[in-house]
Amino acid sequence: MSDIHIDGLTKEFDDVTAVDDISFDVDSGEFLVLVGPSGCGKSTTLRMIAGLEDITSGELRIGERRVNELAPKERNIAMVFQNYALYPHMTSAENMKFGMKSVSDYTSEEINERVRKAADILDIPELLDRKPSELSGGERQRVAIGRAIVREPDVFLLDEPLSNLDAKLRVQMRAELLQLHRELDATTVYVTHDQTEAMTLGDRVAVLNDGQIEQVDPPQMLYDFPDTRFVAEFIGSPAMNIVPIDLAFGDGAVAHHESFELSLPNPELFTERPDSAYFGVRPEDVSLVDNVAGDPETFEAEVSVTEPLGESLLVHCLLGGDELHVKAEARTELDAGDTVELCVDEERLHVFDDAGDAIYHSSPRGETVSDAAETQVEP
């Protein structure tokens, strides 16, 4: 297994810059997820690592080798494609062997042994003699992964491998991928547009937007301490509430909004002190006052819509001209037009400046990290 070093990687197509000067490292054995909306350059980045796209500028190293100029086959990587890329006229076993055979240093016995082993790991020995057309989507995906495994590459690259599967199968395959990664301990770069996949699979997650990296961090860090407004809104569902505020700094820091006033704890954590900014709070960090003990600062809002999510109730509230989503307890009796009293979890507040960069998190960064490692649940 090898680590990957990416330094100033840039890809320009004729008149667009798809990937703009990005840098990050992937440690040996790490599972790194590249996530972002479509067109953010995540697939292009992956394809540059694979060698399927030329690198316009920057340096790419796998292990100690600079691989910018190396052909894909010399980089010793395996890739799993969104559409599986299985050869339709070959059986699963032939598909898995095909690439191996062109690397001539293996005897056919070794190849067969490896295919058997990969099939065992993926629990597909009975599918080996079938052609792709006789397999279901999930089975095809397994064969495609098996084909990557038999090569025992330095690096695995996965390009949205689960997006052609139905929702239930996706959750199941996600768990299996995680388990597989644990068994193989392979350096993996995984591209997805689905933030849930990113959160559940990644040791670390790199959020891309518009060809640039917004943040690279472990999932819980990303969730608790988004570096930018984009990350805050992209990671998490339902998305973080963002409302414009005015800031006043006296003894403490106070956020003024047309319908609430809130003193922000730990004002020394502000990295900048602008007059106006954007206040961010996740729907689950806002509560209806009835459910909160003590005497927190509260404010009123009007309910516009309620969406029952099953395990909770998502309440859309009107805060003056802005909308605020609140995750309330399931089966709370609320109707449109009701006025509710709300309060926020003071440890989970965020402020972003006009440019979209985070200038304040109400908890000191890192405090919840140990916490995060424990609470990071498996899917």
Partner: protein, 289 residues
């Protein structure tokens, strides 16, 4: 089972009392048009059994007195077997050469990035505007200079490069997901191995279809072989038919003999069509897209 039930229902529909006027009209029209289209072939088959006098009696449309002896004459006296062999050799060489070359050309066009790729493809398509009959004079000159006159090279070479076949293969290759070739790149599978082990097995239907079209096209070549081949024993069957016409009996063209030759000349492409009609239909369907 399905065909049986359909034929049963067709049968049921054809039963008297069930036929309405409109259907009768439609079916009548179809029968007449099929008959009209088949008529020349039918007449050729009938005439090929008649002697010259019988042929000239317009009203005589029964099986003639000659039976199969016209066929014997054509194959024996007129050396028609040799022409048939020449035609088969020519057609097979053209089919193999054209399919091979076009596969390579399409492979290059689809799976390699090279400068002015689009222009190259357009240039290939442009050659459609200049079929062999248009280039016949310069082509003759070229063959003469190459010293290929009166050889197999002359009647096969000019047909090997084909814009149509390149176009058909290119379109087909483009419908194959790019990730297949990308995966092959990652595995270090070379272009020839990829062509042989992936593209060709995945394009069998298209290759068969193009082969049928090419075979029939090659088989029907007349003008170019007529011009470039001076040796009668090396001639192809379509020109051979012309030789039959020259043999007249007391000033009357021996149509019985000619028709027998025409029927013989018809058999190989017919056989190819019957065997390969399925892939051919698929190819044509793709062409319509």
């Amino acid at each position: 089972m399905a065909t049986r039930s359909t034929s049963e229902s067709t049968l049921a529909r054809l039963l008297p009392g069930d036929i309405d006027a409109e259907q009768a009209l439609v079916h009548g029209g179809l029968v007449v048009s099929i008959f009209l289209m088949g008529l020349p072939l039918l007449l050729a088959l009938i005439m090929s059994t008649q002697n010259t006098t019988e042929v000239y009696q317009i009203t005589n449309v029964g099986i003639g007195s000659q039976g199969l002896s016209n066929y014997e004459t054509v194959l024996g006296e007129y050396n028609f077997g040799q022409y048939m062999i020449n035609s088969v050799v020519m057609s097979v060489i053209i089919v193999v050469g054209k399919v091979t070359l076009s596969l390579f050309a399409a492979l290059a066009l689809v799976y390699y990035r090279f400068p002015y790729e689009r222009a190259v493809f357009m240039f290939i398509l442009l050659t459609l505007l200049l079929p062999v009959p248009v280039r016949i004079v310069p082509l003759f000159d070229l063959m003469a200079r190459l010293g290929w006159g009166n050889t197999l090279m002359a009647i096969t070479g000019p047909y090997i490069a084909s814009a149509t076949a390149v176009f058909l293969f290119r379109q087909h290759f483009m419908s194959i997901p790019a990730s297949l070739v990308e995966n092959a790149h990652l595995d270090g599978v070379g272009p020839l191995k990829f062509l042989w082990e992936v593209l060709i097995p995945m394009s069998r239907g298209m290759i068969a279809g193009v082969s049928v079209i090419t075979f029939i096209y090659a088989w029907n070549q007349y003008l170019w072989p007529l011009i470039i081949m001076s040796d009668q024993s090396k001639q192809v069957v379509q020109v051979g038919l012309r030789f039959l016409q020259a043999a007249s009996q007391s000033g009357l063209t021996r149509w019985g003999i000619i028709m027998a030759g025409a029927v013989i000349a018809l058999l190989p492409p017919l056989a190819v069509l019957i065997v390969m009609h399925r892939p051919l239909l698929k190819t044509l369907a793709i062409q319509q897209k």
